[in-house]
Symmetry: C2
Subunit: 624 residues, 2 copies
């Protein structure tokens, strides 16, 4: 048993790759039926055991005959042969061809004995005496000889061949109905941590429960890499239960992954089990994210412990685990799994650790690929869908410069850059417009931050709500106005009549963060009221309970009211109507959909502009 201290120093990324590459997760071979073999990889060579076709086969509709009987025939002087009978596809010939005779054959028919060629029907005429042949043919013409397609004994497909429809077709021709293929490595996924709950089960948020993100994410990534994921029942941080489950998974799987918890105690439990009952090969790497990665062996199974944060777990899985699964399944590295683009902005990096930078993609107006960092803290699950892949930054790199060319390893070969990258304020009309586009991406960062990013050249489109500073670069695609105010409980039981009620009465509110359109309009409204009362705005806001309780979700204040957590919340009439709540109007604000000159001609921006012109605002209460 290795001494635990040995692992105190973080392993280099190269060493981590070496250890991961050395894991044995070979699942061996299995036999699968041909109709379930798509995408699988042959484990051994398949030789033809029969001739295809298995008989000399007429390859056209016409007449089977002896070629030498036609040598003098042409259009001007046809030769007449007597008709000896007919053979159709799928029939055993009951006739043979003697000199001076012919037999009618259909495509695919067995050539009758004595015949060595076929004259196509178009060059013949049936007569009372038999059949008139108007062309000469050579021996073998319009006949596919037995074995001419594939001869018995021929090497048909080699080991390692991936089975696409074409190979399935060849195997069908050989009569093969089951094939020896590389088995899929069985990958057990253990979810640990007292706080995790499987999706679909009830969640007690106030007890700190959260849904288990990593189990299904990693299971899906395992399947994508060609493995067979096996989800084990959730256990908490209990040592005995975890030990039993790990041992069971190690006997049932080629590879065991643990993933899910960020809690130190769960990690400690797994660490102890692997260290005491198996072999710990690596503990920690100088990679961000991924520092806590564990690699070991437990019984006959390999073991990898993934970091807890979803983007980190998926990144480490892709980098260290997916290649092993693909290799064990016999699959090649996907050809489309990397793309090259240029950094949209400068990004600083922490020196000393290799960084796998989560990155999003966007095409600029010229169709060039721009790469921008996605960093909300690795704990954010939205980073999963806002990032398209990762950029590997060497440990000695202090920054990636704007315009620098970088390679992005995509999270999946299915990843495409979004048709349009939008950022800004949440708005129900904007959401509906996005629904009409193919694979758009929307970053709900609020108006101010979105406009900043637009100036950096990242998003294609910004949904800007409320009064915004003039931006000379922006091109307006269109817009609408929306009624905003205070969302209150149904029936407005506290009789809130506007901002004075909030200032002068006891009620509490929930606000939105600065930079969001409703907040900007709200603050402007407060400024006007302060002017009216000839006081500073802070004198008003100090008296509004919850003014500093800010959220970034457009509906969050209204939902706090709905949940009984506040007496009022900043929001839209449309939101109040949708949630069945009361509403006190404070005004109307403009929502503008902005782009830049160079992105204006992107097809999805063009479609968005068209959709804005046609949207039916009457569906949205308070919009016009």
């Amino acid at each position: 048993m290795s001494d635990r201290k040995e692992f105190r120093d973080l392993a280099t990324p190269e060493r981590a790759h070496e250890v991961a590459d050395g894991l044995d997760i070979d699942p061996g071979a299995e036999t699968v039926p041909l109709d379930g073999a798509r995408g699988r990889v042959l484990d051994e060579r398949i030789d033809a055991t029969l001739d295809v076709p298995g008989f000399d086969r007429a390859s056209m509709d016409g007449y089977a005959l002896r070629a030498e009987d036609t040598f003098d025939a042409d259009e001007a002087s046809p030769v007449t042969l007597s008709l000896a009978g007919a053979v159709h596809a799928g029939e055993r010939p009951a006739v043979s061809v003697d000199p001076g005779t012919a037999v009618e054959v259909s495509t695919g028919a067995v050539m009758p004995d004595g015949a060595d060629a076929v004259v196509i029907v178009e060059r013949t005429t049936a007569t009372d005496d038999g059949v008139e042949i108007r062309t000469a043919v050579t021996p073998g013409q319009n006949v596919m000889l037995s074995g001419a397609d594939i001869a018995a004994g021929t090497r048909a497909l080699g080991p390692g061949t991936r089975l696409t429809p074409s190979e399935i077709g060849l195997l069908s021709a050989l009569g093969v109905d089951e094939v020896p293929v590389r088995a899929k490595p069985t990958v057990g996924i253990l979810s640990t941590g007292d706080e995790l709950v499987r999706p679909g089960e009830p969640l007690q948020s106030q007890a700190g429960e959260i849904y288990d993100v990593n189990s299904y994410t990693i299971a899906t990534a395992v399947a994508e890499a060609g493995g067979a994921p096996e989800l084990y029942p959730h256990v908490g941080d209990d040592y005995e239960a975890m030990e039993r489950l790990l041992r069971r998974a190690a006997t049932e799987c080629d590879l065991v992954l643990s993933s899910g918890s960020t809690s130190a105690s769960a990690v400690d439990v797994i660490y102890s089990v692997v260290e005491s009952q198996g072999t710990l090969l690596l503990h920690g790497t100088a990679i961000k994210p991924g520092k806590p990665m564990l690699i070991g062996e437990l019984g006959d199974a390999a073991y990898v412990g993934l970091p807890g944060y979803p983007v980190s777990a998926l990144t480490i899985f892709r980098t260290f685990v997916a290649p092993q699964i693909r290799d064990a399944a016999g699959l090649p590295e996907p050809a489309t799994a990397t793309v090259t683009g240029e950094m949209a902005v400068r990004e600083r990096c922490e020196e000393g650790r290799r960084r796998l930078l989560a990155a999003g993609l966007v095409e600029n107006g010229d169709g060039d690929l721009l790469v921008y960092p996605v960093d909300k803290g690795s704990g954010a699950t939205t980073s999963l869908v806002d990032a398209d892949g990762t950029v590997t930054v060497p440990a000695d790199t202090a920054f990636l410069d704007a315009g620098e060319s970088v390679t992005v390893e995509l999270f999946s070969p299915d990843v495409r850059p979004p048709s349009v990258l939008c950022a800004g304020d949440s708005d129900p009309v904007a959401s509906q417009l996005l629904d009409g586009l193919d694979e758009p991406r929307f970053l709900p960062v609020g108006t101010r931050e979105a406009l900043r990013r637009l100036r950096d050249g990242i998003p294609d489109v910004v949904v800007a709500a409320g009064p915004t500073g003039a931006s000379s670069d922006a091109v307006e695609l269109g817009g609408w106005t929306r009624e905003w105010g205070l969302v209150v409980p149904a029936g407005n039981p506290d009789g809130i009549e506007g901002v004075p009620s909030l200032v002068d009465d006891d009620g509490s509110m929930v606000n939105l963060a600065t930079g969001f359109g409703l907040r900007t309009s709200f603050d402007a409204h407060l400024d006007a009221l302060a002017d009216e009362r000839d006081i500073a705005r802070s004198e008003l806001t100090d008296d509004i309970s919850g003014y500093d309780l800010t959220t970034t979700g457009g509906e969050s204040p209204a939902r706090a009211v709905s949940d009984g957590d506040a007496d009022a919340g900043l929001g839209l009439r449309a939101t109040a109507t949708a949630l069945g709540l009361g509403f006190v109007s404070l005004g109307r604000q403009r929502v503008r959909v902005l782009t830049t000159a160079d992105r204006r001609d992107k097809p999805a921006v063009e479609r968005l502009a068209g959709a804005i012109d046609e949207v039916d605002l009457s569906e949205f209460p308070g919009f016009d």
Copy 2:
């Protein structure tokens, strides 16, 4: 009902696309469990129905406290707070934070009431009095507020989103365990023709039976395009049975394909059923292959009749049917489904019909992609695996010139150019060497034809057997010699002692075609015997029964002997040994593995050269 005559004129390809695009095979939506949703496409928008996280969450291990209590703290003058308790991930806090106190928290823990920030454990020291804080934090630091990742009411994923591991992760975070996705269109596949037998069932070749290639090929292609294939039991050409099956399939499927038979009678039956009971929309197109394509409607299902030859069927499926299935399933056109290369040789085309030319791919020494036509007659199933895709040639194009840039539509996104393209004679050592390479391709065309293609710049490697003309361009990678002669029944019952027995006795033989190495050596042997007897070679060969009965499969003559169809066959000692037959040696011949200077450095050619040096010839009887 349309008059059948209307369809006598072939429809233009544009019209055929228009009719195919107009088919309705929309399968609607279905709900699938999250763990079965990989690769599926959302049918509707998913909004978040809960906040993620659902509580203010510590995002680091450390101490939850009031930020204002730390404002004066730094390394030089730490602040000591009393310890009020601890909260771990997955626990409901039992304590709260009053001024001057702190609570130990682990990552993921619920923030206790009263706390607004976390100081990370590394900047603290536990003391007897509580905890020493050595840094100042701001409110909100190291805390993820409720809803900060995803706020309830936010648009999370739009309709049309393809579900990769990342989206599965986001849905998990929202607690979603089943998702509304586009259903897979159900595609019924009918196999017709009296001659077809399902793979795995016994085959009666002499009754003209062949294995059904198209059913599994098309079923696999349907699955690849995102459809759910449904194979119907095979029926022959009986009108009543076909009518019942077509009607049943039309009620059970969104789309019905018939495919499999080349027999005119089966096509006629289907034509009649669709014409009399449904609507025939198109019959025949000016496309090669694909002239016999049928498109129609039968009940609520769409119907497409594919050509019978396998490459033709797959080509027409890809061109006209797969896009409809992908569209119905909500899937995008695969991004990697086309590649651009240059024609390796000139190819003549028949004017007047658009041609979908089956093409193979090979990389030259510079990594450029060369495209060569694969044309063995569409009936050959080996063309399925020898071709990588199709080149669309307009109807008014007379030829594609060598060096001309063309676009190849790949048969499947999984298609890759072979690592090495080989051609030549079949040889058991060569087969084993190929088994050691990743995805090689071998064309068993014989030595002479392979050397011709090498001069045209197509294959990377030629397996040349027997005496061959000198080729100044060729570079030899290595070789071996093999013993050849006459394969005879076990125990050599006819006492065949060599060629004189064949000439002078009654026995029959099976020969190989000219251009194959064994044939070249055999003819040289005959020349020597003729010289010895001072006669013309033809005087010998006229007396050898079966000398003109030639095959192209290296083992075919030996297998004819094994099957009792001949008394002797040209072949290798190794083949005789493998099949348990007798052998009369006629000599030894050299097998040389050749490449060209510009392909010598391709990685797979390099590996092949290394493998030749290391091959153990003692495994192969008669080889050294």
